[in-house]
Amino acid sequence: MPDLNYLSITEAHELLVAKKISAQELTEFYIGKIRNLNPKIRAILTVCESQALKQAKKVDTKIASGAEIGLLEGIPYTAKDMFLTKGIRTTAASKILEDYTPPYSATVIEKLDQAGAVLIAKVNQDEFAHGGSTENSSYHVTHNPWDLDRVPGGSSGGSAASVAADFGIFSLGTDTGGSIRQPASYCGVTGFKPTYGVVSRYGVIAMASSFDCIGPLARSAEDAQIVFEVIAGKDSKDSTTIALSDKTLSDKSPVGKLKAVFYDDEDSDVVSNGVAAIDGSLLDIRTEASIAELVPLELALAAYYVLVPSEISSNLERYDGVRYGSKAKDSKDLLDSYMKTRSEFLGPEVVRRNIIGTYALSAGYYDAYYKKAMQVRTLIIESLNKVFEANDAILVPTTLEPAFKLGSKTDPVEMYKTDLLTVFANLAGVPAISIPIGFEPTTGLPMGLQIIGKQGDDKKVLAIAKNIQSDSDWHNKLKELKL
């Protein structure tokens, strides 16, 4: 049997087409890997072995019939537990959905199913995606495959760790303020957050609806693009989706003539630390790059942490123990039932964000917090638009530091600050990708570079990332991981 470790989508596809491996063998290989290595990493919440093997068998029958197969057919993947999966438990890593088995699947899960991809496991995350380390999961923490004492990042920490540990060829994540890109950076994988509205959110558990995006975490930008092109597109079941402009999917980016800017801030260490970690192969881009000054990052982060909890407090009203989910046993009346259910089954960070959001939206504080933050959001969008008038992309490190130690950030505000370099892309709804760009010298841990484009420039952002990866090897360093 050929070596199946750390296959790209295309490599796995070629093995399937050449009949060097069957889809069932490939699926069994990954499930075996999860059984052997997941106890160390703990990235997985639910393994869906029987459904996965059934799907793989369908692909094998198709191959045996001599029919051509698509790129994703028979490709094993994992999904964050935010995605509803028909007949497979979906928890959002919350106790309030501990026994919830959805009666239908998210549009993106359906699309991947139709494309023949094989869902093998649902993965860990911060509860309801509230967090940046996956430590807020109500089930267990997940360990970073590069250093088991460290976090994988979050909130899509299980997705990033599962791609880094090779528990699946790609994973689906959600990104509200950096939840795909930050864990991708911490785990040395590629993570792509598309333009807001380009991927349907039907059947995806909502966090903050004017921010939430869905995207892939994968071994490379090439793999991320393959997945993106399958899941993208307008969906009549999600009225917030936008039609893809031709440009989004077919623009041949003029990478040779790229004009990029490094995002600077009053705190110039942000850029110099990030640039120091950037591989020499980027020099071509750097020579044409200038430094952009945008709205201060701290201001963007502050606006984000008003708007997002506000939207959370509205979206999470539905967990009331009536139509689905867990329900507290003894209560005297309806109000008491709501109060006890939510108190018993929601974790501390979810409670905190619900209270902050309820406060920011309450009478007397709405203008000072919610409306003010919406106005700051406008200023951030205007400042980004100005940069994009003259430039193709903004380059900025994904995070200020590599993955931190488990249990080392107990102050909520300290945890929020790990989103400093990622939230502005969500405030503006623009596409952004994080790619591995080297290792931080003192810890030897991976660091990510973010490439951010203007709305609808998804293809261009991916093209720049692919261009960098074609000249560098950072994304292949995963193969050297010893688990």
Partner: protein, 96 residues
């Protein structure tokens, strides 16, 4: 921004339909106050005359054709998700 009093936190928690124990109330008061201190940066920004942004796609009034669409999910399955079912109905505490 002044520290939020226990009474204020209690009031907001009631609005959010979350019961807090005395210990949770005390720690929530500290944490929420420090988060509010952090987000108060926005108060120092001049936003006079700036339109607020509530969404970024620019979509307005998304309509669909007024057609009967058959639900692909069986009502029985949807109802089966309810934690408290009685005689085919979702059970709730008495409201009136």
């Amino acid at each position: 921004m002044a520290k939020l009093s226990l009474d204020e936190i209690q009031k907001v928690a009631l609005l959010a339909r979350i019961e807090l124990s005395d210990d949770e109330l005390a720690s929530a008061s500290n944490e929420i106050s420090s988060i509010l201190d952090f987000v108060d940066t926005i108060q120092n920004t001049d936003t006079a005359g700036v339109e607020p942004t509530s969404q970024v796609t620019g979509l307005t009034d998304v309509w669909r054709e007024d057609l009967v669409v058959k639900c692909t999910v069986a009502p029985k399955l949807l109802l089966a998700s309810a934690p408290d079912m009685q005689d085919g109905y979702v059970g709730v505490k008495k409201v009136l």
